[in-house]
Symmetry: C2
Subunit: 167 residues, 2 copies
DNA sequence: CTAAATGCAAACCATTTGCAACGGA
DNA sequence: TCCGTTGCAAATGGTTTGCATTTAG
């Protein structure tokens, strides 16, 4: 039994809820991934291991994991809700590649300090903050430079797996 | 004719589009407000002045305004698309009061500099960034302090006009 | 035995799209 | 006239909810 599973159980018991096979499976699949999965992505992964688990249960369990402090809901602005590991993970921000959808986590203490200072200046009590830098990652920049050398005209748009233009 | 109207006309003509009464009205209503209106909010304002204008037209025109550089789409994570004035407005970030929905704009050059430095460190080419600080604004903190003094138990949740818990 | 959990289908809801009628240039 | 525009209604798509059935404690 991992530490996360214990946290989940404790939360479940404290709230008078029940432990079920579906919840165990969903938690395990979630723990197994390090990506910023959307609810739907996770549903597909879970569904692959047990097709009898419904979409609804995955959505509901993800909310439960967030409540238990194991997962954190992240909205990247693509219309989907993503979840990332939260238990014993320090706060961090994200850079999102608009070309390939890759997500880079980073942290800067100065950044945090300045944010807090700005909030204090406005007598604003911070509950949470979210910083998102959108652009082109190193790999895609390299690829693009290379591509530019080969052809000057043909410009292909690689569809990103997770970040969509609209919803 | 304001500067913004000229920019809009220029954009329309450059793209071979047409000037219509609806588009003029929507632009004017938009310019008249300084808030971070959601598409729906703006639709209601427009609809009040001319009930014959359809929802679709408002949505489409807002996108047009964004294209023309007059408006900027902002996603606050409440599931709605908001638009703010963009023409000759410098970049800024937002603090959002989770209690009353108020939005405070702020700017910090150091914040920008550190973000750029972090991006450079990861060889990441910045296209845009978004910083959102969520918490309790000065007014609501004051109100809450006052309320706490009066009653220790009754805690009312003032529904915020724009920021919703779920979508 | 009882309340919680599940999963299906239907509901939601902001936004988008198809399409026939309309209207600038 | 020609092509963009409009507005209705229907579609979209992620997420939520109602409800009858199942299941953990």
């Amino acid at each position: 039994m991992t530490e996360e599973q214990e946290v989940f159980l404790a939360h479940i018991q404290k709230k008078g809820l029940k432990r079920t096979a579906q919840r165990d499976l969903i938690l395990n699949v979630f723990l197994r991934t390090e990506a910023h999965l959307s609810s739907e992505d996770l549903y597909h992964l879970v569904h692959r291991e047990d097709p009898s688990v419904g979409q609804t249960t995955v959505y509901r369990t993800l909310k439960l994991l967030a409540e238990a402090g194991l997962a954190r809901e992240v909205r990247f602005g693509d219309g989907l809700t993503h979840y990332e590991h939260h238990y014993k993970h320090e706060h961090h921000d994200h850079m999102i590649c608009s070309n390939c959808g890759k997500i880079i986590e980073f942290y800067s203490a100065e950044l945090e300090a300045i944010q807090d200072a700005m909030a204090a200046k406005h007598k604003f009590e911070v509950e949470q903050h979210l910083l998102r830098i959108i652009g082109i990652c190193a790999d895609c920049r390299r690829a693009k430079r290379h591509e530019d050398k080969l052809t000057e005209k043909s410009q292909q748009q690689i569809p990103s797996p997770s970040v969509r233009s609209t919803r």
